[in-house]
Amino acid sequence: MMKAPFHVYSVLLLALAVSLTSCSQQNATTVLEGNAAELTYVAPGEYDEFYAFMSGGYSGQITAYGLPSGRLLKEIPVFSVYPENGYGFSEESKPMFNTSYGFVPWDDSHHIELSQTDGEFDGRWLFVNGNNTPRIARVDLTTFETVEILEIPDVAGLHCAPFITENSEYLVSGTRFSVPIPQADVPITSFKENFKGLINYVAVDQESGEMSLAFQIEMPGFNYDLARNGKGKSHGWSFLTTYNSEQAHTLLEVNASQKDKDLLAIIDWKKAEEYFKAGRGTERTTSYYHNQLDESSGIAASTEMTTTTILDPAELPDMVYFIPVPKSPHGCDIDPTGEYIVGNGKLSADMSIYSFDKLMATIEAKDFDGDINGIPILNYESGLHGILKKPGLGPLHTEFDGKGNAYTTFFISSEVVKWDVEKLEILDRQSTFYSPGHLTIPGGETKKPFGKYLVAMNKITKDRYLPTGPELAHSAQLFDITGDKMKLILDFPTKGEPHYAQAIPASMIQPNSKKFYAIEENTHPYASLGEGQAKVTREGNQVHVYMTAIRSHLAPDNIEGIQMGDEVYFHLTNLEQDWDVPHGFAVQGANNAELLVMPGQTKTLKWEPFRPGVFAFYCTDFCSALHQEMSGYVRVSPKGSDVELVWGLNDENKSAQTSR
């Protein structure tokens, strides 16, 4: 009788103790006790603290997620056509896909680089590389739209891109596959004689963000994999990992993994810029495309560029160096102070960490260990800060928290390891599920990391989610890194295959987000700035429909006099001036896509009638209570028919006669 109460007392006391503890400790320890949900929960109507921009890999796009919730906010179409909003199908956006290989509707997007000022994110633009048909795109972070794509000539697999300098002066972009330059019909076995690798410096206009290819440095035919630029004391230098210094051209898996060490390329880009400006480069004829979107018209235009400037390190001294780095390095990452350069040797048991000061002293002392094509090789030991011994298997990428700690992903041993950069001590390791590639910490590659979270982007998903057949979404995992130990707090599936991502405080993006396009500023040549301007014109077999949309009707909504063989261009202007009121446009038999037109914009869909008859068109975006009524008909007659071209709304029909 008396024992029970005491038992109950002790349970109650324990409960009291636990509730007191959980109340006072809002640190990472409590995660283990089960408040991971609390740390990642963003209540309805609340906002995430960070935007995370993830590349889409083979989707060719970018996705924007909120952190810590892992909520998908938007997929931004970049290198792949996107029927969902007509990107790549509308007449306005088609030129974005022009390359020296013609219209290329897909690419493999890899590395996100946010623009920087003084080594910190400034929230203006986002750059991303297309790997397969080498390109770099710029996304405007006020509109979340791709506004520019620049092709990079004479490279193959633009993997080593578009790594940004601390004031967004350049995007450093190296070729992953060396190729004959200029391209030539040569035996593949002539790799060592004929193949070269270009490292490209793409200049960024500080006001407009516009990209231009400044110069290309011609390097030995290795594979240039990843890069980072110096910051602070090391500003003005680029560091790039290479693999396949064996110069194998077949079965690279084996033949490019022979040597004990590959090479880290070290480029004094300020010196290179000096040579370029002094006219020390060689002009070469080539072909590449530069595509840009004009915001006021919403129309993209392409320009073919035909010359490029090559800088040859054999002729231009003190510009490029090599230093050995353990076997087949992948990521090359620089700590927030700019002093330590981490070479992630993916097939090595140890990681080499270089000291910028020591590298400079090594160069100063000409402490070289031979050269390759006139490029000095620095003495490995002399440039080294130290070795991180046996950190894990398959180190790929490293980011930083600004508190002296580095975080590295290990693909083979499937973990994230936290270590002290200065002391080279391992502090913590946590498993990931499974096999992480890149990782990102908000601001984790800048001078001032925001820390707080780490996202590991895993390459293998297996059993983490409900199965969806053979093809699974890639998994991202969020860790809380505020405590001594990293805490896994969230899994979330992602789109495509995110390679790299960068995360930035929402406060740097949210206030600048555009809500609509001012219709007064619409300069599209086929815009109808007001319903009174809606009309249909014929020029030979080209018919232009100037159409307007506003809740809840399209004008005109009855069109007759279209003939077989006509090319009909629907130019839809959205007259709305309110946030979140896009109108869509779909017409039966269109063999391209739909249009999604933002308020104040004009977009064009080409339609070639398939057979005579009357075909419906309608608004695809549920815009209002009368959205279902937002529709119309277009009548198609046989070629040579005498049906007059008329258009109208509410039975007030017009024709070329009446509207004159």
Binding site: L16, E46, R551, A555, L575, Q577
Partner: protein
Amino acid sequence: MRIKFFLLTLTMLALVCWLAVSCSGNDAASSQTPAAPAAAPPPPPPASPKGIGEVKNVTLTDPFEESMLASGKAIYDMKCSACHKLTDQRVVGPGWAGVTNRRRPEWVMNMVTNVDVMLDEDPQARKLLEECLTRMPNQRVSIGDARALLEFMRKNDMEQVGSKDEAAI
């Protein structure tokens, strides 16, 4: 003894509950924005025939401010004509003929520049919404442009119905 234990248990339980609730309650309170008044009863109708918004007093001139008429028509053509006819015919929204005889100039300008608040709170605007069923979109008309539109409406009223400004008096 039993009662004493029972009371003690209750006290402890209450304490635990209070601590737990206050702990999570703090977080909940700090992370929730005030709920949107979705299902709230309609606010008491404001008496002002001038509507709700920045525009408190409009001075009308005779003859018309000629400089405003052209820009007023341009704004009408671009932003209003899709839904409003210049006659008394209602399409999506009411026809404009005689509008300055029915509405105070301040009401007209507030309706144009403060659309969402007017549709939610002004009794006359709410009544129109019930008749037309399509919410008037916010077309981002500035106060200055709304004044030009008003001038254009006054001229339109003279042309359509031969009188104007009767509601302003």
